[in-house]
């Protein structure tokens, strides 16, 4: 088992290195920092950006927007999801709404949000709309997956309703909530940054990416992208760690 783990890690490492090598070859081929900067100059730019004044402010703004969108999606997604999972009429009502949100192109949402909201909240709204359906759908699936025999057992042993919700329903849907949160976050960060690019709030990764693009600073665009990937990855790690600590029974 341990052998396999190191083996998969080595393979993942090889694929990452391969990606960088291809990048390097392409940059040598184009031989222009304006079109495709080399990996090493991009790395230097990234470090420069990270150590620059205001960096924390910029990424905090983006992260806060993502988290605000996430918090709203989480509360609404879990709440409405539980209700829809228990009540089939509400599920029928909610379904078309979820499908519509999910199939609407993100760019349409942004264009409309630009008209409806102020620049600071566009990205939050977009993050919410991208994340909400994932969380909600997963919670609904989780409730449907609950073994009715466990509920019957609890009822026969006269366990009260609130305790059944807290100690049977909630733990049963927890793994589903985590997988919903994980996919939601993956899409959420991308949506936040697209939202920032188009709405241009005062601080934000998207704002800076747009500025860099305008001045043809390709290395900065790529550097900000790398920073965005790292943020997204860190949150994925946090989610996985939390899941491991909470879902201990598997």
């Amino acid at each position: 088992m341990k052998m396999n783990l190191t083996k998969t890690r080595i393979i993942s490492l090889i694929s990452t290195i391969l990606l960088i090598v291809i990048w390097k070859i392409a940059s040598v081929f184009y031989n222009s920092e304006l079109i495709l900067p080399s990996p090493e100059s991009t790395l230097i730019t990234t470090i420069k950006l990270i150590s620059s004044k205001g960096f924390l402010l910029i990424i905090s703004a983006t992260i806060l927007r993502g988290l605000a969108g996430f918090a709203i999606s989480f509360i609404l997604g879990v709440g409405l999801g539980i209700f829809a999972g228990i009540n089939s009429s509400f599920n029928a009502f909610l379904k078309p709404i979820l499908v519509t949100i999910r199939s609407t192109p993100v760019i349409s949402l942004i264009l409309l949000a630009l008209i409806w909201f102020n620049v600071e909240t566009v990205a939050v709204f977009i993050a919410f709309l991208t994340m909400f359906p994932f969380i909600c759908t997963n919670v609904i699936d989780g409730i449907k997956d609950i073994n009715p025999e466990l509920i019957e057992m609890s009822t026969i042993y006269k366990v009260d309703k609130t305790k059944i919700i807290k100690e049977v329903y909630l733990p049963a849907i927890t793994p589903f909530i985590f997988s919903g949160v994980s996919s939601a976050m993956g899409f959420g960060w991308r949506a936040v940054i697209i939202g920032e690019v188009l709405s241009q709030p005062q601080f934000g990764i998207g704002t800076l990416m747009q500025t860099a693009q305008t001045f043809l600073l390709v290395n900065e665009v790529i550097a900000w992208t790398i920073i965005a990937i790292i943020i997204s990855y860190l949150f994925e790690l946090i989610i996985r760690k939390t899941q491991k600590r909470i879902v201990v029974w598997k």
Binding site: E149, L150, S154, Y157, K158, V159, K163, P171, A172, W249
Partner: protein
């Protein structure tokens, strides 16, 4: 004292499971119901435990009875440890310390005291069913309903579990109503055995077992087994 069912009627769609059915369970004994699959044994337990409504019928002695149920499957909550699973059903009945004592006592009787903090996923099928037995006894009930709890287990585990069950029951003689289609289980466990017919259910015959030595090769038990076979044919 006994629990009585009088003129029970229950049908599902076109099938008449019970028609003016009468039955009596002696308190503080183990009553076995032996019958073919689909004859309505589980339905009877579900009506008694109020998970299913009867069409009509008179029940006496059941009203104030608290019921424990041992199902075909262990039905343990996967996210709770053995101890927490038991505590889940007895929480509101007792104080914490008293509760812990009870859990300990019954886990010891099913020989799982070392596994109190294990999650069900780490236990074998037989162990899980033993937890379910401990849970049923830890719950301060007057009546324990058992719906073929040994069905999914192999012979050795079955005998083990029957032993564990009898050991607990000797200490704590509750009224038990045990449903099975396996003659051996009924012979090893029951004080009374009722053989049910196919639906609509009639009691074909009642056997009272007084024999102390419950082993399958005891001549008395073998004789009884043959008699039951004849009735069931």
């Amino acid at each position: 004292m006994s629990l009585k069912i009088k003129n029970l009627n229950k049908s599902f769609q076109d099938i008449n499971l019970f028609q003016d059915f009468n039955f009596e369970v002696q308190e503080n004994t183990i009553t076995c119901i032996l019958g073919p699959s689909g004859c309505g044994k589980t339905t009877l337990l579900n009506i008694i435990s109020n998970t299913l409504e009867k069409d009509s019928g008179e029940f006496s002695g059941f009203d104030d009875k608290v019921i424990s149920y041992i199902f075909q499957e262990p039905r343990l909550l996967p996210w709770k440890t053995v101890k927490e699973n038991i505590s889940f059903v007895i929480n509101n009945q007792r104080l914490t310390e008293e509760k812990n004592e009870i859990i300990k006592k019954y886990l010891r009787l099913v020989e799982l005291d070392d596994f109190a903090d294990y999650y069900p996923s780490k236990l074998s099928g037989g162990m899980k069913q033993r937890v379910a037995i401990a849970r049923a006894f830890s719950y301060s009930s007057d009546l324990i309903l058992m719906d073929e709890p040994l069905k999914a287990l192999d012979l050795k585990l079955k005998l083990n579990l029957i032993k564990a069950f009898r050991r607990i029951w000797q200490v704590d003689k509750r009224t038990v109503l045990f449903v099975t289609h396996d003659i051996d289980e009924a012979l090893l466990l029951g004080n009374d055995i009722y053989v049910f017919s196919k639906a609509p259910v009639q009691i074909k015959k009642h056997f009272a077992i007084t024999e102390k030595d419950r082993t399958l090769n005891n001549p008395e038990i073998v004789k009884l087994k043959n008699e039951i076979w004849d009735v069931m044919e």
